[in-house]
């Protein structure tokens, strides 16, 4: 009986130590004063998939399927470093940013996948962005039409340049108006970021 109680006692102590050790990083409780905004930086941008430059209007009969206004896709991937300078884990709730080719905003993308970043560590996040000639044509015309006119160019010329040069990493791709929402124990911080690749 005595031996059993000694074993129980030791087990209790071991369990307590293990639990407290596991929770050690929670020792610092987040508050408005100690919650530092995590830092988001663009690590790199990859041309994930490129399919050349082409466009078919819906007047062209395809070999299979129905005719559509359709253009070459271009898939880009943006890899971000997300650094948590705090002494406790933080949760990233969402991240979004606008992508501009040269001076033209073309797409706003993001991630709503949640991610926990351990105290003092840096995670990486990959965000994919899909472009195609049709979609980018519409976006360009409806938001950049006047600017194209002012610059004495037209949408087709600029799209061809982008679709052939971006896969060569010859044209700067800008990340603009980026924001990422972080949470810790009910507190919220928003990190902002901008970047260009290649620099």
């Amino acid at each position: 009986m005595h031996k059993k109680s000694i074993i129980r006692g030791w087990l209790s102590v071991i369990a307590a130590v293990a639990l407290f050790a596991g929770c050690a990083q929670m020792a610092v409780k987040p508050d408005q004063q100690n919650f530092k905004t995590p830092k988001v930086t663009l690590d790199s941008m990859e041309v994930a998939h490129a399919f050349g430059y082409w466009y078919f209007s819906n007047k062209v009969q395809p070999t299979k399927g129905k005719p559509e206004n359709v253009g070459a896709p271009l898939e880009l991937a943006f890899i971000f470093n997300i650094e948590n300078p705090n002494d406790y884990p933080v949760k990233m709730d969402s991240l979004k940013f606008t992508i501009a080719f040269e001076d033209f905003d073309l797409n706003t993308v993001g991630s709503t996948d949640t991610m926990w970043i351990p105290a003092g560590k840096t995670n990486q996040l990959r965000v994919s962005a899909h472009f195609d000639v049709r979609q980018s044509l519409l976006s360009l015309l409806v938001t950049g039409g006047f600017k194209l006119k002012q610059e004495g160019t037209n949408a087709w010329a600029i799209l061809e340049k982008w679709w052939t040069e971006i896969p060569q990493y010859n044209i700067p791709v800008h990340v603009k108006a980026g924001s990422a929402v972080f949470k810790a124990d009910g507190l919220t911080k928003v990190a902002t970021f901008n970047a260009t690749f290649p620099q």
Binding site: S5, G9, A16, L19, T108, Q135, V142, F146, S179, F193
Partner: protein, 415 residues
């Protein structure tokens, strides 16, 4: 001996209780899923991006203020590039994700999805204000916080008839002349055309040939020259801001000499910037206040824009952010009421939520909102503004419901 043995047991039990209590907020946090379809890259991205930002910001506000009776909302927001097939695909994903409601965008996709959302009993709160979505007999699960496009078009024409036509040198000598300028193939642009022509007939207008102006147009000279042959006194613009600005610029440059009335998605803070002097005197529909206007609730809109999108200067934000808040706030209220009534099913959100609202005030310069089981038009009063020195000035609040009560009640619902 007994006392010695009991202490470790008590200690372990206490430890468990403390740890469980410590993590209880994480363990018990209930989440409601809401879908959001937005256009940040397609044919309406000139107005869609700002609306998308507003949806996400408003949802942060909702969660910061208790969510739905303590339940947080997880927003799944997707850009569908104004492509109807992609909207249908994303809707199927929302169903798989078990969203309780969807915040939609365009008229084409919202109308295409309407039979499906009715069958699924999925509350679908859209940025399309098509009057086709206001009759609960046909589209019970389609809702929005604003006055519909047809009501807006009728009100804009009426305001011009009341305020501008009497000042015309030909007033009393002949009928006023109207031309409609819009993209024929766009369901959004064409939605209110039948109604505005009906209103023109009611007020005694002569209506000229419609002009097809693409949403992507930056050169509309041929359409303006065609309008000149008819000599309109007023032109209705049913497109979004960029192509409306292009049309106003060409009308100014070619001396069309007509006034302009504009639908709400073509009448925002970018219009005077893009069209300059050509936009002076243009009248338009605003279904709520412009961004930053001094109205109840605007302080929250500004605070959350600053907080969650600090990289976007406030002077680039538009009234479409405010419109997004309007749709989120009515959905929030409907969900809270439904939840209190015991269920967050689609049917409960509709019946115990939306259709219990009577003159519900969301602020933001929007009209008090009423939904009934027989009528989803939220209000019959439409504020009409005019551009004056690059700013928006309220001209008149046109009360169609009081002015034509019979037609409002018996004739105008659903088109």
């Amino acid at each position: 001996m007994f006392a010695k043995n009991i202490w470790p047991k008590i200690f372990i039990h206490l430890l468990v209780v403390v740890l469980v209590a410590g993590f209880s907020s994480m363990a018990c946090a209930e989440t409601i899923k809401v879908g959001s379809l937005v256009d940040m890259t397609g044919a309406t991205s000139d107005v869609g991006k700002d609306y998308a930002l507003g949806i996400a910001e408003a949802m942060h506000y909702v969660n910061d203020n208790g969510g739905v009776n303590g339940k947080q909302i997880k927003l799944y927001q997707f850009d569908y590039g104004y492509r109807v097939p992609e909207a249908l695909t994303k809707y199927k994903l929302f169903k798989r994700l078990k969203t309780v409601a969807v915040l939609g965008w365009g008229t084409g996709d919202t109308e295409a999805l309407s039979p499906t959302v009715t069958k699924d009993k999925m509350p679908y709160v859209s940025a399309s204000y098509s009057a086709h979505l206001t009759d609960p007999k046909k589209t019970p699960y389609n809702l929005f916080f604003a006055t519909d496009y047809s009501t807006n078009a009728r009100a804009a024409l009426t305001a011009w008839f009341d305020k501008k036509w009497p000042k015309n040198k030909d007033y009393g000598k002949r009928k006023p002349r109207l031309v409609c300028s819009y993209m024929f193939a766009s369901p959004y642009c064409s939605a209110p055309i039948k109604a505005i022509k009906d209103q023109a007939k009611l007020l005694g207008f002569e209506v000229g040939p419609d002009q097809n102006v693409s949403l992507f147009a930056i050169d509309t000279k041929s359409q303006i020259l065609a309008m000149k042959e008819f000599k309109p006194d007023v032109v209705w613009h049913g497109n979004t801001t960029m192509s409306v600005a292009a049309t106003l610029r060409d009308a100014y440059a070619l001396g069309l000499g007509a006034d302009h009335i504009i639908d709400n998605w073509g009448f925002d803070e970018n219009l005077p910037k893009l069209a300059g002097k050509a936009s002076e005197g243009a009248m338009g529909v605003a279904v709520c206040a412009f961004f930053g206007e001094n109205v109840p609730g605007m302080d929250n809109v500004i605070e959350y824009a600053k907080k969650y999108n600090p990289g976007i200067p406030l002077d680039q934000r538009l009234n479409h952010t405010v419109q997004a808040w309007g749709d989120v706030l009515i959905l929030w209220e409907a969900m809270k009421r439904a939840d209190k009534a015991g269920s967050l099913s689609g049917e409960s959100i509709l019946k115990n939520g939306f259709e219990t609202m009577r003159n519900f005030d969301i602020g933001l310069g929007a009209p008090p909102i009423t939904f009934t089981a027989t009528d989803h038009r939220v209000a019959g009063i439409v504020p009409i503004y005019e551009v004056e020195n690059g700013k928006f000035k309220l001209v008149e609040k046109v009360d169609l419901k009081s002015r034509w009560p019979e037609k409002w009640a018996n004739d105008w619902l659903g088109w």
